[in-house]
């Protein structure tokens, strides 16, 4: 069964450093998403991406965040200057359809900012 692949599975970074979280969505999916989950809390939407541009973003997705699809397979989330409160699990997802159908989530990247 096709999977969404996320790397790395765990990243530790110093506060103020830039991090790039990587995702390989399912190949025939057109819609891509990043979500985050602070430990013990709910899963929060960050951003959605379609046709090489952001289609929607939440209040959390401020200027320190950016997304990119640098080639035909990868989808990245960059956090420019990490803060302690960015420590969370970050999930990538992709879907073939819009409207909340057919999401497949990756297994996540646990980001720890120290």
């Amino acid at each position: 069964e096709p999977e969404v692949t996320q790397t790395p599975s765990h990243q530790v970074t110093q506060m103020g450093q830039e991090v790039i979280l990587r995702c390989v969505p399912i190949s025939n999916h057109l819609y891509f998403y990043w979500y985050r989950q602070i430990l013990g809390q709910k899963v929060e939407f960050l951003v959605s991406f379609y046709n090489n541009e952001i289609s929607e973003k939440s209040e959390i997705f401020d200027d320190q965040f950016s997304v990119e699809r640098p080639d035909g397979s990868n989808f990245t989330l960059k956090i420019r200057s990490t803060k302690l409160e960015d420590s969370a699990m970050y999930f990538c997802a992709s879907s073939e359809l819009k409207g909340g159908y057919g999401y497949t989530f990756g297994s996540g990247t646990r980001l720890t900012v120290v």
């Binding site: 709910k42 929607e56 646990r110």
Partner: protein
């Protein structure tokens, strides 16, 4: 906000018992989905119920949807220790991305 809110926040049952988790939401929906998350792991899609459906089954899972009350329930029958996880509902409306609730932590004691 259309976010779902699950209750209870935590549920502890004996193996073999049934577990029922509820989700309430605030706005119209296209569909409602339930996901499972083992501790510190990824989100696994369990079941999707469309807004025009009232009940759906998948193995030991039974989901109901009452759009008039804006609520859904997930029933896991004959629970097993391996069912121990957090369960989240997520709602979809229009073309907006999925919105998740806070989740129910289920502990099944062998």
């Amino acid at each position: 906000s259309q976010q779902g809110e699950e209750d209870p926040q935590a549920l502890s049952i004996q193996e073999g018992e049934n577990a029922t988790m509820n989700c309430s939401y605030k706005t119209s929906i296209n569909n409602l989905q339930w996901y499972r998350q083992n501790s510190g792991r990824g989100l696994v899609h369990l079941i999707l119920i469309r807004s025009n459906e009232r009940e759906k089954h998948s193995g030991r899972l039974r989901v109901t949807l009452d759009t008039s009350k804006k609520s859904s329930s997930l029933l896991i029958t004959a629970s097993r220790a391996a069912d121990t996880a957090s369960y989240f509902c997520a709602t979809a409306w229009g073309n907006t991305p999925l919105v998740f609730g806070k989740g129910t932590r289920l502990s099944v004691i062998a």
